[in-house]
Amino acid sequence: MVDGFVPTTVEEALELKAKFPELVPYAGGTDLMVENRPEVDYLFLNRLCDLKHVTEDDEHIRIGSGVTFTKAIADPLVPQVMKDALVKIAAPAIRNAGTFGGNLGNGSAKADSVLVEYALGALIRVGSVDGDRTVPVHEFYRGRKQLDLAPNELILEVLLPKANLGPYYYEKVGGRRALAISRVAFCGVLTTEANADGNEVIRSISPSFGAVSGTVLRFPELERQFEGLTREQAAKQRLSFVTAYEDHLKLTEGRVSAAYRRQVCLNLLGAFLDAVGI
């Protein structure tokens, strides 16, 4: 075999990527092999045990980039909001191979695990021979198929902040139950905290929209309207909150029309607000 590399450690993989930046990282193969490019030299990462961990520290659930969706679904540390998305990805044979790193690296706004990462404010840890760095997922995606990933870097880990877990709403709208590419997907999470007066107020709210534009869409400037309010106060401002989203949802045409996507996005936003009591 002269045209591919099978490193056995992450260090070896990073050294190879530094030496041969044109190598295409291969995790599960489920996106790459659709193109089936015989001329490509792959850097096979599927044997790297160091990328297959699910662990936690005080602040984060840490998911290795080589963790398959099947493994994550079975892991007690993986948050339910993520599992709700994972069980609807494709079908068992794809979930047995597809990974978190591959879903990110493919750069698509239709990546269902990435949508949940946006809603949870996830961090992506990437590495090279020069060291590691951690970048928020919304900055990691610069545009459609454009990632903040240098040619000598590899995606190592996804970090889900525990503080951003809370009541959530997830829905995937596809053409069928299995093997469906999202036409619209939605994930939103609500977190609350006690304010100085001891009232439970909204700390964060994260409506996120997948598969409707070049990247997943999330609007922090609109989310601020509800921050610091009680649910009751937020409910009174619901109309203006939703109207602001109506104004901001500039969607692309795709397999379905932009108008359809926009209406579905707004319906799902409403269902999310209902679900979290706003």
Binding site: M1, V2, D3, G4, F5, V6, Y26, G28, G29, T30, L32, M33, V34, N36, R37, P38, E39, V40, D41, Y42, F44, N46, R47, T70, A90, A91, P92, A93, I94, N96, A97, R177, A178, L179
Partner: protein
């Protein structure tokens, strides 16, 4: 490394072609395992499903370099097992097979399902087969066959 070493249906083999070659093509054209069917080449039909290290995977979505060190099982190997004989009988009894193109993938998906759920619910069976398309008999007969095989298996899974 010089070649890709793996086991195919229990037999050690070494492949010296390109690491970018597709497992589906290599199984059919090099090892003559013609049970592995090419339906869609994009992971949407399950006709090329094989077991890699015991897990169901679509062989159209696997590059040979990823197979290095793995155990690959196709229907050519699986059909020598008692589990296959139980599924074979169950599929025949409810006429779950018509053209047969999807059946190798269906049978291996059934094996993966029953290995995980020896006493499956109907939902678990349908979930297990959800990546495999059939355009002849439809899914009810196939799901029934898997349920019957599980019931009559006597501890095979």
């Amino acid at each position: 490394m010089d070649e890709i070493r793996f086991t195919l249906n229990g037999e050690a083999v070494a492949y010296d072609g390109s690491a970018a070659d597709r497992l589906l093509d290599v199984l059919r054209d090099v090892y003559d395992d013609r049970s592995v069917k090419c339906g869609c080449k994009e992971g949407e039909c399950g006709a090329c499903a094989v077991l890699i290290d015991g897990e169901l995977v679509n062989s159209c979505m696997v590059a040979m370099g990823a197979v290095d060190g793995s155990a690959v099982v196709t229907l050519e190997g699986y059909r020598e097992t008692d589990r296959f004989r139980a599924l074979d009988k169950a599929f025949a009894e409810v006429t779950a097979v018509q053209c047969g193109y999807c059946i190798p993938g269906m049978v291996l998906a059934a094996e993966a399902t029953l290995a995980k759920h020896p006493h499956p619910t109907d939902d678990q069976i349908r979930e297990g087969l959800s990546g495999n398309l059939c355009r002849c008999t439809g899914y009810n007969a196939i799901a029934q066959a898997v349920a019957n095989a599980a019931e009559e298996a006597n501890g095979l899974w």
